[in-house]
C-alpha cells in the first residue's frame, strides 16, 4: 500500500482537488472518485487464498468491473471532503418541514452497532436471537401504546411503505368481509405525494378532498361520499396534525363520516411529534396509521434513509397484518409467528428494518412517558415561538395567536409581501444557505410557501439566531432584492442548473 506525504492546506489535501479556482465562489471542486483512480492502488487487502483453486469455466466469467483503484488514504480524503460539502442536523439548523430533523442521539448508534444486534443473520432460529426478539416485541408494545391502537407491524421500511402496507390491509379486510368494491381512497389536496402514490400501487383510486383555511372541508368529504356512493369508499387518508401545521379538530367528525359510510380512517402519522402523549390516533378514530421512526423517534435520516414505517391497526384489522409477527409466548420467550392465514403476506424480505428499530427502542426508552409528552410540548412551543417572532414580516395564513390560533409542530409562511419586491421563494431559500441554515420545505402544501419545523431539540439560542437571519434576509430584500438572485455565494457551489440536468440527464460518470 502506498501513500504519498503531501502538505495539507487546511482540510484540503493538495493534489486531490481541482486546482482550477475560480474568481467567485472560491471553492474547489471535488473530482469524482473515478478521476482519482490509479492502476494498481488498493485501499484494503485480503488474506491469501487458503484452499486450492477450483475449476472456473471461462464461459461463466464476465469482464472486469471498472471500479476505481484508490489507496486507503485517498479513500478517506475523498469521503471526508464530500462530507464537508453537506449540511446536516449535526452541523446546521435544518428546519425541513414535515421531516422532523431532530437531534440523533449517539447512544442509539452505539446500540445498533453492537455485535449482538448488527451481526445477526435474518434466518437464524428464534431461540438464538431472544434479545433481539424481545427488543422488537417491546418496540411493538411501545408503539401500540403511543398509537392507542391494538396491534403494530414493524415490517414497513419507511413511511410510504407503511402507507402501502396499511392500504393493503384495508383492501384485504374489505375483501374478506365481502366488500371488494371499496376501492376509493379520499385524500386531501394538501396530502404528501406518497399518499396518492401509495393508493395507486394498491389499485385504489385516490380522490381529492378540498381543504379550506388549512382544514379538510367536511362538506366536500360528505359530498364525495355521496357522489361516489358510500359503498365504494375504502378510507379517508388524513395527516393530523396536518401538513399546514394544524391539528384538525374536526377529525372525530371526519372519522364518523367514514365509519357511517362503512369506510375506515387512515392516519398518516408523519406529524406524531406534535401530539406524543397529548392525544392518540386511536382516541380520535384512526383505524390504521403509520409511524415514521426517522421523524418522530430520532432515527437518523442518512442522506435520504433508512427509515422505518411501522403501522398500527385496530383489532378488526389485525388479522391482515403482514407475516411474520413478533410474539411473546406464555413462558415469556419470544418468537416469530408465521401462521397468519388472513395476512396480506410479505411486503419485504426477512422481517424489518431491525437496525433502525433498535434506535427507535433506545429513543423511546430514553424519553419515557413524560419525556415523550415533553418532546411534543417543546416541538409545539418552538414552532409557535418562531411563528410569533416572524409573522409580522413573513405572512402566515393560519397563525393568529391573538385569536387563539396556534400552530402545531410546524408552520407555513407565504411571504407575499417580500415576494412582491421582486424576489422568488427560491431566492429566499438559497440565501438561507449562505447563513448556514438548511432551507425549509418549499412549495407544499401551498404554492409559494415555506414549511418550517424546528423540532423539539433546538435550543432557544438557535431559534433566536434563525429569527435574526430571517429578519436580516427580509431587510436585504427591502434594500436590494436583486442581490438575492446571486445566492448562495458562500456554499460549495453557486446555484445548480437543475433545468439543464433534467433536459440532458447525465446519471453516470463516463469520463
Amino acid at each position: 500500500m502506498t501513500s504519498v506525504m503531501e502538505t495539507r492546506p487546511k482540510t484540503t489535501r493538495a493534489g486531490t482537488r481541482s486546482i482550477h479556482r475560480l474568481a467567485r465562489g472560491d471553492r474547489p471542486v471535488e473530482p469524482v472518485i473515478f478521476e482519482k483512480s490509479v492502476p494498481g492502488q488498493r485501499a484494503v487487502d485480503l488474506p491469501p487464498l487458503d484452499v486450492p483453486r477450483a475449476d472456473l469455466p471461462p464461459e461463466l466469467i464476465g469482464a472486469p468491473v471498472e471500479l476505481p483503484e484508490v489507496g486507503q488514504h485517498d479513500v478517506m480524503t475523498h469521503y471526508t471532503h464530500l462530507s464537508q460539502r453537506n449540511f446536516s442536523v449535526d452541523g446546521n439548523f435544518y428546519p425541513l418541514g414535515s421531516c422532523t430533523m431532530k437531534h440523533n442521539p449517539r447512544i442509539n448508534e452505539w446500540a445498533a452497532a453492537l455485535d449482538g444486534f448488527a451481526q445477526l443473520h435474518p434466518l437464524q432460529d428464534d431461540e438464538q436471537i431472544q434479545g433481539a426478539l424481545r427488543l422488537l416485541y417491546e418496540t411493538r408494545c411501545f408503539l401500540q401504546e403511543i398509537a392507542g391502537l391494538d396491534e403494530v407491524s414493524l415490517q414497513p421500511a419507511a413511511g410510504a411503505h407503511g402507507e402501502y402496507t396499511g392500504l393493503k390491509v384495508i383492501r384485504a379486510y374489505f375483501k374478506d368481509i365481502g366488500q371488494p368494491q371499496r376501492h376509493i381512497v379520499l385524500v386531501p389536496d394538501s396530502a404528501h405525494g406518497t399518499n396518492p402514490a401509495s393508493c395507486t400501487m394498491c389499485a385504489c383510486h385516490a380522490v381529492t378532498v378540498k381543504t379550506a383555511h388549512g382544514y379538510t372541508d367536511l362538506d366536500d368529504l360528505r359530498r364525495l361520499v355521496n357522489e361516489h356512493g358510500a359503498n365504494t369508499i375504502a378510507a379517508f387518508m388524513i395527516t393530523n396534525p396536518n401538513t399546514a401545521g394544524l391539528f384538525d379538530a374536526k377529525i372525530c367528525e371526519a372519522a364518523d363520516i367514514m365509519h357511517d359510510a362503512g369506510a375506515l380512517l387512515y392516519l398518516d402519522g408523519a406529524n406524531m411529534n406534535a401530539i406524543l402523549g397529548k392525544t392518540r390516533p386511536g382516541e380520535f378514530g384512526a383505524d390504521v396509521m403509520h409511524f415514521n421512526t426517522h421523524k418522530t423517534f430520532s432515527t437518523p435520516h442518512g442522506c435520504g434513509g433508512p427509515g422505518a414505517g411501522p403501522i398500527a391497526v385496530g383489532e378488526k384489522l389485525a388479522p391482515y397484518l403482514p407475516a411474520p409477527q413478533v410474539m411473546m409466548a406464555e413462558d415469556g420467550s419470544f418468537y416469530f409467528d408465521r401462521d397468519r392465514p388472513k395476512s396480506i403476506g410479505k411486503v419485504r424480505s426477512f422481517t424489518s428494518q431491525f437496525g433502525v428499530l433498535v434506535r427507535c427502542w433506545a429513543y423511546i426508552a430514553a424519553c419515557g412517558p413524560d419525556g415523550l409528552r415533553n418532546v411534543a410540548e417543546k416541538a409545539v412551543l418552538s414552532a409557535n415561538y418562531l411563528a410569533a417572532r416572524l409573522c409580522n414580516v413573513y405572512e402566515m395564513p393560519y397563525f393568529d395567536p391573538k385569536k387563539g390560533r396556534f400552530c402545531a409542530h410546524e408552520f407555513v409562511t407565504v411571504p407575499n409581501r417580500l415576494l412582491r419586491k421582486g424576489v422568488s421563494l427560491n431566492d429566499i431559500a438559497k440565501r438561507m444557505i449562505d447563513y448556514d441554515i438548511h432551507p425549509p420545505t418549499m412549495h407544499w402544501p401551498l404554492r409559494d410557501c415555506l414549511m418550517v419545523e424546528p423540532t423539539d431539540t433546538e435550543s432557544k439560542r438557535t431559534l433566536d439566531h434563525f429569527v435574526d437571519v430571517m429578519l436580516q434576509i427580509a431587510q436585504e430584500i427591502e434594500r436590494d432584492p436583486k442581490s438575492l438572485a446571486e445566492a448562495p455565494t458562500d456554499a460549495p457551489i453557486r446555484r445548480a442548473d437543475e433545468v439543464a440536468a433534467a433536459r440532458n440527464p447525465v446519471l453516470v460518470w463516463e469520463g
Binding site: V70, S198, K378
Partner: protein, 451 residues
Amino acid sequence: MDYTQITPHEQSAMLEAIGAESIEQLFNAIPQQIRFNDTLDLPPAMSELQLKRELAEMAAHNHGPHDMVCFMGGGAYDHFCPVLIDQLAGRGEFLTAYTPYQAEASQGSLQAFFEFQTQVARLTGLDIANASLYEGATAVAEAVLMALQHCGKRRVLVASTLHPDYRAVLRTYLQDLPGDLVELPADGGRIAAQTVRRELDDEAACVVIQSPNVWGLIEDWDGCFGAAHERDGVCAIAVFNPIACALLRKPGECSADIAAGEGQPLGVPLSLGGPYLGLLAARNQFMRKIPGRLIGRTTDTEGRAAYCLTLQTREQHIRGAKATSNICTNQGLLALRATMFMTAMGKHGLREMAQQCYHKAHYLAQQITALDGYALKFDGPFFCEFCITCPKPVTQIIEAAKRRRILAGIAPHGRRMGRIGDENDLLIAVTEQRTKHEMDALVEVLEEFAT
C-alpha cells in the same frame, strides 16, 4: 432523558413572546374529549448509563455470526467489511442529513450517490442506476412494475428458483394490480431456456430470473433472456448478487434490460435482515420510468461541476397518483456504505473477493461430498452457495453444529424458506471470510452423520 434543551425560564419567555399563557393553551386545537390525560404506559425514562446496560444485556442474549462461524446465506451474506466504512459512513455530516432536496447544501451526498449510480451501472453492465430502493425484494417488485408499465402487458414470468421471500413480495405487490404471476418450473434446480420459450405468449411482459438463484446455482441468463427477446417488447429482468457480478457474467453482458438485487453484501451489516439496500439498474430507455431518486451531473452558474436530484417529474412529490412509485425515504446511508465499499475494495479487490468465495465454496462442497451419504442436490454450476442432501434430517445436523458454535447453513424445507426443499437438504454459503480451518470443522460435524 428526552434531549430537549429549552429551560423553564426560557419557556416562560417564549410563551410571553407568543402571547400564550401556558403550554396547554398551545394545544387548544385538540378537543377535550380526545385529550390523553393519562400517562402513557411505558417504562420510566432511562439515563444513558441505564440504556447502555439494558441494550448491552439484550444484545448479549443473541448469538450469531459474531460468536459463531456462519455458513448461512439465503439472500444475506457474511462478507468482510473494511473498518473505514463504519468510520466514514458514521460521520455526522452523512448520518444526520436528509434527502438532498437543496443541491447547494448537499453536494457531498449528491456526488456520492452519483458515484454510486455509476458503480452500480458498471457492476450490472447496464446504462443507469437509481440511488437505492428499500431492499432486494421490493427492488424486484419495482422492476416488475416498471416493466409492466413499459410494455402495457400483464403476464409476469418468474423463475421458481427466485428467493421465496422475493416471490412472496411479488405476489403481494401484484395481487390487486393488472399483473399475473406465472412461475417457471425448474429443471435440475435451474430454468431452461426452453421453459421460457414455452411460457412466452403475446401477453408476456417480462421474465424474471435470479442468478445465482435460491440454490446458489448460476442460471443460464444468456439462454433465458435470449429466448425472452425472441418476442418483441418482453423485458428481461436479472436478479443479481453484486459480489457475483464482480466475477461472473453480468446482467448487461447477458442481454438483461433491468437488473434488481440486494446490496447487503456491499458492506451492509447483517443486522437481522435490515436495513438493507435495494439496487436497481436499467437500460437508458427506462430513464423516465425508473422509480426512486436519480442524481444528475450538471453545472452551477459559474460552470463548475455540480450535482442535483433530477427527472423528479417521475416522483410522488410532483406526480402524486401518477408517479412511477410511492418511494420517498430510501436507503441513502446504505447506498453510501456500498459506494465506499466498492471504492475501498476497488476493481481488483472486489473481483478477488468474488474469486475467494467461489474457490472456498467449491473446496467445501468437495470435502462434504467426499463423505458417505452426502451429495450435491444439483449438478449445475454454483458461485458461493450450494445445496447438499444429507443422510439425516438437517435439523439434527444444524443442532449438532450449533453446539460447536457453527451456523451450518439454512434448511430449505423450513417455513422461513417457503418450504422449497426436502428435510435432508442443507443450503450452505461460503464467503471470503471463512477459513479452511472453519470449513474443516463443519466437515467434521457432518462426518458424524455420514452413513
